[in-house]
């Protein structure tokens, strides 16, 4: 009788199932993407070689000066050979890159010249040159030999969501310019990513200028690496990524030395120090103990173990999850209320029928059960139908987000566990909302129901 009742009003049944299917598809898509983002992000942390990360806990700009003697701090940390196996300081900032061609190779031009689009060459009149290519790059200042210790395999390094795959490396592994307070020779080496190489037609041996404000230095490309960035945010805002020696980057940025009252002091600013712990350290020296020790000596820094990074990520993810879940719940409630309305209309239309059933001896509870079953069945069918569009929806949404971020990575986690959770959640909520029409049908007074005229 329940099936026949659903088939009696086919249009209404289809609309109810569709409403629930849409709610379910939205729920499944959003949760799948939220779970996918969490899995991707947490995997980055878990798979990295960094057991402890040190960062300034003030906003960028003010925070740079907090880690004074960062290099020295790195050396200081490195001297703890019991607990620490390697330390890698990193400086991350934006630089202007300009390609160098034959015409301007020997001239010291500045970014303003490029903007003015002209150059005075010797005795010739000012002529307009072919504009050299220029753009903005994300630049990493590293100590190559130290950074390499943090590769997760032979040629792969991960920095947050960016994965680097190196074919060639720096010719000079250490940091000679740093020696003797930034008076050592420059290497003038730079590694660039393949997007930048392709965009500006650069290859091994090409020359580029890296500059900020009026500081400009020419480097030689000694390596081209691949990243997992495919566009999106990165394509909109940066032209590529470069790696260079830490001290050379600090010098370009003026983060190497400072003169106070005629005294020159090494500032050696960095913005991240990565630490890899000694796997053979005493068992009593946990990662947390080491981190606490560092934190106590450097209270202005943020010292995070992997677990703490995961906790922070979980907190950030919680906000995203709450947002996604809230949207899903709203959609679910709307879908379920639609079904409840349809069922209430159905009960109203069948008042006489219900009165007859009660008159011939059908119990209140039986009628309650029939209406409840009809409503829940509609919801179950809707949920099952909604899984397929939910799957495709999660793929589309995940692709959209990863394109927006600019990474070549699937950000969906469509699992049986998710489907079961979605199904049970909808079933529980659906059962609760089905109580409304079921109670309405069950509590009807027989005489009134029989004599009701629509």
């Amino acid at each position: 009788m329940i099936i026949q009742n659903l088939l009696r009003r086919k249009g209404r049944t289809v609309m109810s199932i569709t409403a629930i299917a849409i709610s379910t598809a939205l729920l499944v898509s959003l949760l799948s993407v939220a779970e996918g983002i969490w899995q991707y992000s947490s995997q980055l942390i878990i798979s990295s070689r960094e057991d402890i990360i040190i960062r300034p806990n003030l906003p960028r700009g003010g925070g740079l000066q907090v880690i004074n003697n960062g290099h020295t701090l790195a050396d200081e940390l490195r001297s703890d050979t019991v607990n620490i196996s390697e330390v890698s300081p990193v400086y991350l900032w934006w630089l202007l890159i300009t390609t160098v061609n034959e015409q301007n190779m020997d001239t010291n031009f500045t970014p303003d010249d490029i903007l003015n689009n002209s150059l005075n060459i010797g005795n010739y009149n000012e002529v307009e040159l072919d504009l050299p290519s220029s753009g903005v790059v994300l630049s990493l200042g590293v100590i190559p030999e130290r950074m390499k210790k943090f590769f997760i395999d032979e040629d792969t390094y991960k920095l947050e969501i960016i994965e680097f795959k190196f074919d060639n490396w720096f010719e000079t592994p250490d940091d000679p310019h740093f020696k003797n307070n930034y008076t050592g020779p420059w290497t003038y080496e730079v590694l660039i990513d393949d997007h930048l190489a392709k965009k500006y037609n650069l290859q091994l041996g090409s020359k580029v200028n890296l500059s900020i404000d009026t500081n400009s230095v020419t480097f030689t490309v000694t390596g081209i690496f691949k990243t997992n960035l495919i566009g999106g945010y990165f394509e909109d805002y940066i032209d590529g990524i470069v790696l260079m020696h830490l001290s050379e980057m600090q010098s370009i940025l003026g983060e190497d030395l400072v003169t106070i009252e005629n005294r020159t002091i090494v500032t050696d600013n960095v913005d991240t120090i990565a630490i890899s712990l000694n796997p053979n350290r005493p068992k009593s020296n946990s990662a947390e103990d080491v981190a606490v020790g560092i934190q106590e000596k450097n209270p202005l820094l943020d010292v995070l173990t992997k677990e703490e990074q995961l906790e922070k990520l979980e907190e950030q993810n919680a906000m995203t999850n709450i947002f996604y879940t809230a949207i899903s719940i709203v959609a679910i409630i709307i879908g379920l209320l639609f079904v409840a309305c349809i069922m209430l209309i159905s009960v109203y239309e069948r008042i006489n029928e219900i009165g007859t059933l009660r008159a011939i001896g059908i119990a209140k509870l039986t009628i309650f059960r029939w209406v409840m079953t009809e409503s829940v069945l509609l919801i179950i069918l809707g949920v099952l139908v909604g899984f397929l569009p939910g799957y495709f929806g999660s793929k589309l949404l995940g692709e959209y987000i990863s394109n927006n971020i600019g990474i070549d990575q699937e950000l969906t986690a469509f699992s049986p566990g998710l489907l079961i959770s979605a199904f049970l959640g909808m079933l529980i909520l659906g059962t609760l909302i089905s109580l409304i029409p079921a109670i309405q049908a069950g509590k009807m007074k027989v005489a009134q129901a029989l004599s009701f005229v629509r």
């Binding site: 009788m1 026949q4 009742n5 088939l7 009696r8 006489n352 029928e353 009165g355 007859t356 059933l357 009660r358 008159a359 011939i360 001896g361 059908i362 119990a363 209140k364 039986t366 027989v446 005489a447 029989l450 004599s451």
Partner: protein, 221 residues
Amino acid sequence: MIELKDVTKIYDLGASKVKALQEINLTINKADFIAIEGPSGSGKSTLLNIIGCIDTPTEGKVFISGVDVSGLSDRELTKIRLRKIGFIFQLFYLIPTLTAQENIELPMREARLPYRNRKARSNKLLEMVGLVERANHYPNQLSGGEQQRIAIARALANEPEIILADEPTGEIDRPTGNRILKIFKNLVDSTDITIIMVTHDPKVASQTKCRITIEDGRIIK
């Protein structure tokens, strides 16, 4: 077997109260075939509802087979309706999504009659009302008279003691109505079943054994 003692039914409509029945005293025996007549709004249907345990009196008592039903719970009244009373309505009120046979079996299913017994009994009832060949038809595929005959079969599903018929011939033509009345007479003659029929048609009422006239909520004859 049916006894009403000082039964009064008052409907509270908020601003006003309507006395549908006033101090009704009535005794109906087994195998009686009774017509309740009266003008529209006289209280006929209300009386039928109270006898049929669909409604409860405001005052007074109702006894069915010696049991005072006036104070029973809804659940207990439903059980009585299922086992002891069969209803036939003017508009037939068959369930449109069930076949003729399924409609007849509905009370039997509620009474937990096993499948085989249900089938056997419903087949017998279809035969009794002359609609075996219509067993798998839906109500919208049946004529008015056929629907009413199925309704009679449904009313007899659990072998009730009492049949209550509210204007059973009101929506069908006279020849078919006569056929219905013939079925009632046969039932009364062949079983101990009591049939109480509400009608406003004197010709229909004249075919019963006893006539009760009700006016303004009171039995006048």
